[in-house]
Each structure stands twice: as structure tokens, then as C-alpha cells.
Symmetry: C2
Subunit: 237 residues, 2 copies
């Protein structure tokens, strides 16, 4: 079921992308839009707030909603570029190599990250991501066995996430991420094609399900030349 405010949001986004609504101009007022879309003002405001959060418009009290020149810098949607997106963007061949898949008793560090007790077990999955013949990304995943009873090599080579969501009916709801730059470990050097680069970019994620339970800790270790992160930051207040 798609809601009214989402339809309005999508309609306006389409009009901006197709040039029917021009950058630097004002949108019709909320009251006008409410009439045009035959709805209430609060519903229009939900659509406009989404546009604002996604960087399409800037709302100004007393004036109106200014359309932002969003495509000027070919700015993709905010967030991390995932392995598949990266590969698709570069339009290169890609594959995943499973280096390790095992059920382990977590060490102190992982117990800490996943808030586990001594008797909990976790799946440890280590995978190399290859793009255009180069090993660019090393993914180290630790998943709480309580939520994921079984993982196979086939699943790891394809996509763990689609397995979790489609087969196990788990819903990934949010993640806390931290980005730092580190010296490559011996593991990085042996599993990645570092090509003389002296650092790796590490994205450390804690992943939560929709009931707010923490079930996965991941380190995604990238060769620095292939890493890119974009962010759209609205000023707080």
C-alpha cells in the first residue's frame, strides 16, 4: 500500500528530474499544493519534509520552498557505496571469494561488540570482493548464531543480506557505522591487492534488526583509492 504523501513526493521528484520544476524557483505554497493534490495541508507537509530531508528543497519560513539544484555535481544519494553499487557504477565484472566460513566461540573483542556471553556462538565470514580482476574489499562479518542458525558458502558468495531477509525473514532496520583509516594488517596484505597503498579505509558497522536487537558486527576494509562516501548534512536547528 503506497501512501498519499509518498505519491505526492514521487510526483514532485519526477517533475524536478524531468525539468518541469526548475531549480532555484519556489514550489507552489502548501495551501496551493493541498488544493492541487486534493488533500490536506499536513499531508502535503509530510511530502515536503521528505523532499527536504533528501535534499531536494529548502524550506524557508515566510517565503516558501526553494528547489535545490541537486544534480549539479552528479551527487548520488547519501550513504555508503556498497560493493554491488560500486561494481555496477564502474561497469566492471565482479565476484566474491569466500576465504573463511566457520562457527566460532567469539573472542573478547567480538563478545564485546555483539554484547554476547561466553556460551554464545557466532558465524565468522571472511570474504574478498573482486572488481575488474582486482581484490578491492575485504569483508569480515560476525553474526550472532541465535538469529542465524545456518550459513553456507553458496549464500556467502551470493548475498547474505538477501538470504537473511528473504529466507529467514529477518528485517535489517538500522546500522551504526564508523569510518577510520588504518594500517593494513597481514590479513589485508595477503587477501587484498593493495598495489603499494599504505592504508585501508575501514567501515565498522553494528547492524540491528527491527526489534532493535544487535545481531551483526562487520568490518569492511577498502583499498583507499576505491573508497568514496557521500553525505548530505542539514544543519541542526
Amino acid at each position: 500500500m503506497t501512501t498519499k504523501y509518498l505519491t505526492i513526493y514521487n510526483t514532485l521528484v519526477e517533475q524536478m528530474k524531468s525539468g518541469q520544476i526548475l531549480p532555484r524557483t519556489l514550489l507552489p505554497s502548501e495551501n496551493e499544493l493541498a488544493e492541487q493534490f486534493d488533500t490536506s495541508r499536513e499531508t502535503i507537509r509530510k511530502a515536503l519534509n521528505l523532499l527536504s530531508q533528501h535534499g531536494y528543497i529548502q524550506k524557508v519560513r515566510g517565503k516558501g520552498s526553494i528547489v535545490i539544484d541537486i544534480n549539479k555535481f552528479d551527487f548520488p544519494i547519501s550513504g555508503l557505496v556498497s560493493f554491488k553499487e560500486l561494481a555496477d557504477k564502474l561497469n566492471r565484472s565482479h565476484r566474491t571469494i569466500v576465504n573463511e566460513l566457520s562457527l566460532i566461540k567469539p573472542d573478547h573483542f567480538i563478545r564485546n561488540q555483539l554484547q554476547l556471553t561466553l556460551k554464545d556462538q557466532v558465524w565468522k565470514v571472511i570474504r574478498t570482493r573482486e572488481i575488474g580482476g582486482e581484490k578491492i574489499i575485504l569483508d569480515k562479518d560476525y553474526l550472532n548464531k541465535k538469529f542465524v542458525p545456518e550459513i553456507t558458502t553458496e549464500i556467502s558468495e551470493d548475498s547474505i543480506y538477501s538470504y537473511l531477509e528473504n529466507e529467514l525473514n529477518l528485517t535489517i532496520s538500522f546500522a551504526k557505522k564508523e569510518i577510520v583509516v588504518e594500517e593494513p594488517t597481514d590479513e589485508d596484505r595477503s587477501l587484498l591487492d593493495l598495489e603499494g597503498y599504505h592504508n585501508v579505509v575501514v567501515i565498522k558497522s553494528h547492524v540491528y534488526l527491527d526489534d532493535a536487537s544487535l545481531f551483526q558486527y562487520t568490518e569492511s576494509r577498502h583499498r583507499p583509492d576505491k573508497f568514496r562516501f557521500v553525505d548530505f548534512a542539514r544543519r541542526s536547528h
Copy 2:
């Protein structure tokens, strides 16, 4: 003027931080909260949506709002750690060195970034940020003269932003940021204490005013060991 929903938001945040509301429990229902705070449900929902966006709760349809264990990992608020925050956090002395301050005719690259014509002028400000005696960050700012008639060395040493907001009454409204890792330039090598590090983390920002006009392009170039970025990502739909 502080609004009702912001007061409710702040009250709930306080209760979570002080332990009156425990992680992993459910908040009272929206109807109960509406009664408790003597307000309407829509107003409660505004407060709860803020809590959700800031990572304090997870809303689940049919169940309720689950309180997230936010402080488990000493997770700061999402976003870039600024120079001052960094210095304060490390509790180290810090100072700013102004390497260059000039009014220039922008080259092709900057004209492009700021969408300028050939006759526009920009302020170019290059500053080194020193923490605990080490030159850690190189900030290169380009500001459209149309919005900023004058900048002095004193202003640059203090804070350009507070000058813009307090003296010039400009309101910075949002920024588009991109984070990449680059080879150090000769400029980086001469102005920063790179200590043998072979990369710099570069944050490229386009900064907009509240009327959606683009007025500043900045490159903030960090020594990799002192860089850290945190992000709270809610899954899209």
C-alpha cells in the same frame, strides 16, 4: 520560542540518559504519552519521530517504540568530528595558523565548484590546524565574495563560521560532503606533519545558505590517523 514537541523530545532524551527509561524496554504508547504530556497524539508523534531519527528509539507497528541501547559504544552524534570537537575530545591544546588569505580570480576548477562566472571573485583561505603541537588538518576554503565582502586574518584564526553567522547574519543551512582518500600533495607535505603517513583523508564540502545559494567550497585535508567519521543509518523502507 521552544515548541511543545521539542520539550517532550528533550524530556525523553534526559530520562534515557539518566536511566529512568531503560534500554530494550518499550516506551509508553503514543496515546498514553499524549495523556501524560497533556497534548495531542500528532504532537507526541513529532517528538517520537525525532527520537527515531536520532537513533534513540525504534518504532515497530503494532508493538510500540523500543528504546535503543545508544550509549553502549560511546557513540557520538552522527556527523563529522570538527576541528574544535576533536581538540576538545583529546583535551589537547590547539591553534590555527593562517597560511594564506587572499582575494583571487578563481581558476576553472573553483569556478566550476562554485558555479561562478569569469568576473566573480573569491576569498581563498588556507589554514593549518594544530593539535598538541602537531599539524593535523589543512583547511582550504573558497568563499564567494558576493556574500562575504571582507575577511581578516583575525577572523580566520578565530572562526570564520561564527563571523559569518554573527557579524554578517548569513545562515549556513546545509552542506553536501564527499569523503575520499588521496595521495598527499606537495602542499600537504609542506604544511602538515604527515609523520610518514602516505595518504590524507579529504572531505570536500559544498556549503549552502538558507536561501539555497551555494557560497563556499572547502577541502579539509586530514592526517589519516586522526580522522574518524560516524554515521547512523536507518534502512530506507
